[in-house]
Structure formats: structure tokens, C-alpha cells
């Protein structure tokens, strides 16, 4: 990885530092709120979900679409950088920004699950699957925004991926291998868990790789 790409990755962390900080505080805060009774749990869980989803959408729209719209992309592309280098730096930088909020929020939620007696430890695999789904969801939004040439397409991607979270809950939660062990006293890492996780990771890898293959080969970048 050359110096310019490294500097651009650091640039993403710098320009998004406030947003990432807010995300980390909101992720931990919502988990704390979730520890206080059923009402607190509902409010905390909803805030936790919204924080992770919102972070992904804001990072993609702000980091890619706005840079294009506000003509800051021309400044970045005036640097000694190829289109492929730009795409790589942007994807890595924004994934890192998201990953900070995501990993802290998920870690806080897992601590809540294992530390709180009223929450069964068996829910941990489902929580992890939901978390990785949101990571993959971010990958789709990020990759889609990078590939999209207009705001309409990006908006459609955001709406569809947001609906995806609800669909995930409807489809994965009732799965036999998940539902049956959700209330268990210890987590069960069965084949259903690994199969769903595998699918999520595949989506993540594809969504993050496609822009590198497609955008980097476009003949007109600006």
C-alpha cells in the first residue's frame, strides 16, 4: 500500500472522527439503557440498531456522494493517485470508520448479554448474526454508493438495505436452529449459525470487492 493511499485512509478517519465518536458513545449508551428493565431494553435495542444502521448510511452518503457533489473529489483526484487507488483508499477508510463504531457497539451488547442474568446467553449467536448482517448491509450500501452514478440509485440502495434488517429478523429469528436455542442458558454455535454467518460474510466480501473491480475500470471517473 503506497503512502498516498495510507494518507487517504488516515484522512477518512480524521474527517469522520466526530461522527465515529458520536457512534461509539451512542452504541455504548444504548447498551447501558438496554440494561434497565424491559422498557429500557426496547429503547436501548432500537437505539443500538439505529446507531449502527445510521452510521453506515451517513458514512457512505457523506463520504462518497457528498465528496462528489461538493467537488472535493477533484481535489483528491489531483493527488498522485489512480482511480483504483482512490477506490481502495475510500473503501478501506470508510470500512475502518464504520468498524470502530460497529465493533464497540457489538462488544458492548455481548457484554450486556453475558453479564446480565435476565438476558439468556443463548441469544448471543443471534445477536452476532444480526450484527454481522448489519456489517454486510453496510458493505452493500458502501459498495452500491461507490458504484452508483446518481443519488436516486443510492437512495434506493439505502431503502432496500434498511428493509433488509427487518426481513432478516423475520427470516432468521424463526429458523429452527436459531429459535430453539435463543433462550438457552449457554450459546449454541450450530450449523445453522455457521451457514447464515457464511452467507453474510460472502455478501460482505462481494459488496466490498465489486467496486474495486468495476469502478476502477471505468473510463470516466469524474
Amino acid at each position: 500500500m503506497n503512502t498516498v493511499i495510507r494518507k487517504l485512509i488516515a484522512k477518512e478517519l480524521h474527517v469522520n472522527r466526530l461522527l465515529v465518536g458520536i457512534g461509539v458513545v451512542a452504541g455504548i449508551g444504548s447498551t447501558v439503557v438496554a440494561a434497565f428493565g424491559p422498557v429500557g431494553f426496547n429503547i436501548g435495542a432500537l437505539t443500538w440498531l439505529s446507531t449502527i444502521i445510521g452510521m453506515g448510511v451517513i458514512l457512505s452518503l457523506y463520504g462518497i456522494m457528498n465528496e462528489r457533489k461538493e467537488h472535493a473529489l477533484e481535489f483528491v483526484m489531483s493527488l498522485p493517485l489512480s482511480v483504483a487507488g482512490y477506490v481502495r483508499a475510500k473503501m478501506i477508510g470508510l470500512v475502518l470508520c464504520f468498524f470502530i463504531t460497529w465493533s464497540v457497539s457489538v462488544a458492548a451488547a455481548l457484554v450486556l448479554v453475558f453479564a446480565k442474568d435476565s438476558v439468556p446467553d443463548g441469544i448471543a449467536p443471534y445477536l452476532l448474526l444480526l450484527s454481522v448482517f448489519m456489517l454486510a448491509n453496510f458493505g452493500v450500501v458502501l459498495g452500491g454508493t461507490m458504484l452508483a452514478r446518481n443519488e436516486g440509485t443510492t437512495t434506493a440502495i439505502v431503502i432496500i438495505t434498511n428493509m433488509g434488517v427487518t426481513l432478516f429478523m423475520f427470516i432468521v429469528a424463526p429458523m429452527r436452529g436459531i429459535r430453539e436455542f435463543m433462550w438457552a442458558t449457554a450459546p449454541v454455535w450450530n450449523s445453522t449459525f455457521w451457514a447464515v454467518l457464511g452467507c453474510e460474510l460472502a455478501v460482505l466480501v462481494i459488496s466490498l470487492t465489486l467496486p474495486l473491480l468495476i469502478v476502477a475500470r471505468r473510463r470516466d471517473f469524474l
Binding site: 474527517v15 469522520n16 477533484e74 483526484m77
Partner: protein, 295 residues
Amino acid sequence: MTDKHIEMHGVRKSYRFFTLDDLSLDLAPGEVMGFVGPNGAGKSTTLRLAMGLVAPDAGEIRVLGQPMPAASAIAKREVGYVSADMHLLPNATLGWHMDFVKSIYPGWDAGYAAALVKRFNLRPGQNARSLSLGERIKAVLLLTLARRPRLLVLDEPTTGLDPVARHEVITEFMDVLHDDSRSILFSSHNTVDVERISDRITFIDRGRLVESSNKEDFLDRWRRIQLQLPEGAALPALPDLVSRNQDGRFVTLVTDQFSDGFAALLAPHVREVQRMSLEEIFVANVMRHREVRGS
């Protein structure tokens, strides 16, 4: 291996409603080329092609000896590109941008950057989002000039600037020219700015190169000649006429091949021979070009 800073041969780039066709031009070290054309003529497209930001459909482009866009990352180490539309990153200060660019370019001239901050009356602590148009363009120029690039590619850098800011910016360009190894490709539709700093001028219109020549050559060759013909007299056959307007006995001719011989042909009838400004030459040239192309 060529020593030209920019070489374009037979470049073609098609969009849905616009085609840049058969463009060939070159820029030698130490040269300043003013690239002049009306809005939508293809100036920005040409400059983006030179920067490797868009790929040509046909033809060959080399910048500082590097093929574009394939080796754009290498070429851009020594190229400074500024466009009037260019904005800095909105969530960072000018000072942060200076540190950022400095960390990428080993040749960053901190002393010159500090001098430009002062000369342009900029504040490093100011957030990029709060810069006015003039400040923004000056900030981008500062970040570009302090890299000490061998080649400057400037896409209408003075557009929208007030006369004082334009003067400050043009003065900095002229400063760059003290170094013979540097060159500038400078697009504009402001012919006054172009005339001030360019030593070569290229006219472009509707995606086609109209003419490219030395500035002095343009100014020497082009003349507007006013004649008063005697009653019933006709004009002799004249070569190299760009335009001819007649109102009774009064005739106004424009030529792009003025010489003593040309003047001698008309001598008894000449009332006045006027030098033409670059803007007048540009307009006359473009209009002739459109006529020849039948549009």
C-alpha cells in the same frame, strides 16, 4: 523518450451530446499555453484527459513522458491541477490540508506556502467550508503551487474572481514562469488573462482545435483594415481574408496573414490598419471556423 510536458495525438472523446475530435497538441517545458474556447468547447474535457481523469476513446496522451490514464498516478507526482469547481474537504481546515499535501509531496516548499498564506490573506485555522469563492480558489492554488510542480494544469482558475484576486493569482502564475523547466496549460474564456501570461495560444471550438500558435504570431498576423473606396471602384482580389463587411464605399476587412505586401495591395484606399486584441482574434477565428464547418 520525449521531453514534452504534454503530448496529445489524434485524441477523441465522445459523450452523448458532445465529441472532442482529433485533438493534437503539445506543450514544451517552460511554455505557457493559453487554451481558449467558448463555454462547452471541450476545454475541461481536454484538461481532464490530460490529468487521466477520463480516458480517450482514441488517440494517445502522454504527460511528462507517462502514458495517460494508465500512469496517471506517476505523472501526477509532478503535476498540479486546479479547476474553478474544485473544493477542499469540507470538514478540515486549510492548515490540515497543508499538512496533508505536505505529507504526500516531498518537494513541498513550506516557506513558499507560508508566503502564499500571507500574500493571499488566508487563515490556516479556517475551515474549508467557510471559505469564500476567492479564498477557496486561492487556497487550492496555494496547495498546488507549494508542491512546486513541473507542470500546472489550470482549468479556468480565475473564473468568478474579483479583479484584485485575479491580479494576485495571475501574478503567482507569472512567478512560476521564472523557472524555465516549468510549464502551464491554462484554460480560460477570459482572453485578457490568457494574453497576459501565455506565450502560446490554442483556440478550441465545439470539440475541435481551431488554431494553435505563438501569441506574438497571432497578434502580428491579424489585422482589421478599414478602407474607403472611390466611387464605382471595386476591391482587388485579396488572399487570406477572414471577413469582409461593406457599407457603401466603406469596407472593413479582417485578415490573418497581414504583411507589407498585403497593405501595398490596398494602399491608396486604406484609412486605418488596426491591431486586434486576442479576444477579437478569438471571436473572428471561431466564427470563420464555424462557417468553414458549415454550422
